[in-house]
Subunit: 321 residues, 2 copies
């Protein structure tokens, strides 16, 4: 079993690599090799199998051909230009999120090896005038280019799978929180930083009201679901290889209440409330009444309370003092 993670240097890619190292198998077979590929050299992980790292720019078909080879069994395609970044730089979003995805699928078609491809889509595909509730059968009417490019990736994944070029599985990731590390250029970045920074004793800015609702999943659960996603039986996937990954809807106030319940009242005092119009404009186009019926039926799951999300951060990610 030879696994490639494209976006292997990112938060989810690194956590997935560690989880695969701990598990040692995928799809019932021992893992022989794991390749972490990213635009910059990813941090290697320690594992009971060979781990290699590679630079890869998926906007280049030649670069993709270097990392996807005849013996690649499973590909995780997690690399993306995130929402606010793709909104500012239309060309960057198109070249990575659309043409990069195409390059990955096209490479698989050329090889004729029908690898398992796990594709991270996003709840950013939802939006606009499509009525709630949203889920597996809702029209993608995103109000960001990132969401549009992910929606296109979904359709490509389905068609390449239907044609037998890949064995694709697409999952619309909820917003991941608490996301470790530094803020990124996702408009949703604050949905982790308002918890992470205070939990680390630092100040953070919240650009929306406490009533703001959104759909969340912890990184730990996300990785569990990505592993289950690769292991699903193709016969159970039906005619739509893309599904909503389970998450849960919480308000900002509920996030903060969970943090307080887990660590006491001091952390919340480090949040500064400062409306930011551009972030508000993007996130107000996002939807939260989201359902993941198909994925739940197939055994994927959400966190049971946001206290769990806080606990996972403290256990897995909080930098030691």
């Amino acid at each position: 079993m030879n696994i490639l993670i494209i976006g292997g240097g990112g938060v989810v890619g690194q956590k997935l690599a560690h989880a695969l190292a701990a598990k040692g198998t995928l799809r019932g077979q021992p893992i022989d090799r794991l390749t972490l590929a990213d635009i910059n050299d990813p941090t290697p992980v320690t594992a009971p199998f060979e781990v290699t790292t590679a630079r890869c720019d998926i906007a280049s078909a030649a670069s993709v051909a270097e990392v996807i080879t005849q013996d690649t069994d499973v590909i995780y395609l997690l690399a993306a230009i995130v929402s606010a970044h793709a909104e500012e730089d239309f060309d960057a979003g198109m070249s990575i999120n659309l043409f990069g995805t195409y390059n990955v699928f096209e490479r698989c078609r050329t090889l004729e090896t029908n690898p398992v491809v796990v594709f991270s889509s996003s709840i950013a595909i939802y939006g606009g005038e499509v009525p709630d509730p949203l889920g597996d059968h809702s029209y993608p009417n995103p109000q960001t280019s990132y969401g549009g490019q992910k929606a296109i990736g979904e359709i490509l994944l389905n068609d390449y799978s239907r044609k037998g070029y890949i064995d694709g599985r697409g999952f619309r990731l909820p917003t991941i929180s608490v996301r470790p590390g530094k803020p990124n250029r996702a408009a949703s970045s604050f949905m982790s930083s308002i918890l992470r920074e205070p939990l680390n004793g630092q100040e953070a800015v919240c650009p929306v009201d406490p009533e703001f609702l959104h759909y969340y999943l912890s990184p730990r659960k996300c990785v569990e679901n990505l592993i289950k996603g690769a292991e699903l039986d193709a016969a159970d996937l039906g005619q739509n290889r893309v599904m909503q990954m389970p998450g849960r809807t919480w308000s900002i106030a509920q996030l903060i209440k969970a943090m307080t319940a887990m660590t006491g009242p001091e952390a919340a005092k480090l949040i500064r409330w400062d409306p930011q119009p551009e972030i508000r404009r993007i996130v107000s186009g996002w939807k939260w009444d989201i359902h993941a019926d198909k994925a739940e039926r197939l055994g994927l799951s959400a966190d049971s309370s946001f206290e769990d999300n806080i606990r996972y951060y403290l256990e897995d990610d909080k930098p030691s003092a």
Copy 2:
């Protein structure tokens, strides 16, 4: 008012050109010039304004740049590799239906002229495991590459419109019947030929059962709707620039009954019933419980009976003896 029809040599493109010639105006302004562009030289039409023809291969960005210029006000993008053809030749479908569409929208973005772009999508975007009824808010789960490529075009149209690069309007065309001319490589081709050939005194083959249901529109109504589509006020379009074009659902038996009602019993005797597995496989993945709420609200309309479809063919298209 300077109009470009890409796919101007096709059945709908030619009829649209004639209708524009008869109307003389679009969006309340006199038409100054009409350019018919297609992969082969289109037949010119006689009009009270300048009509030019051009060869254009939308798979080539340079070719697109020759026909879309600073003074192009309205673009009809009707060119496509049709369903059975795109199913046989995956590369051809991708290069015209996906990259060709991208090239057209990208050219508009570069020009910064925000032209009106009327894009023909298709009911082929529907399919798979999405529940009936289908319409403006249904997830595209097509079971053909053609349908997938059209669904991608819809998402691009919406995003380029949202960003202000084009003033896009997308319409999912029902199957056009009675389509004049020769059979084409659409899997739906028989849905016209079983009427057209008998009406012309020739034999035709029907590959499906009389009970087979499908969603239809006459070419005359389609062109009326495409003209209305360009004339809709952008403010009325909302956040989703793509909608179902109204059609009506009929069985093959109802089509034939309408032909008999209009022209007598002889025509139906020219239909030979011959199951064709590949055509059946494709068309059985298509949906027929389709609704066009948004387009109807905006004033677009379907035929009132299939007798009308037959009458329009006899009036507009039947070759003289």
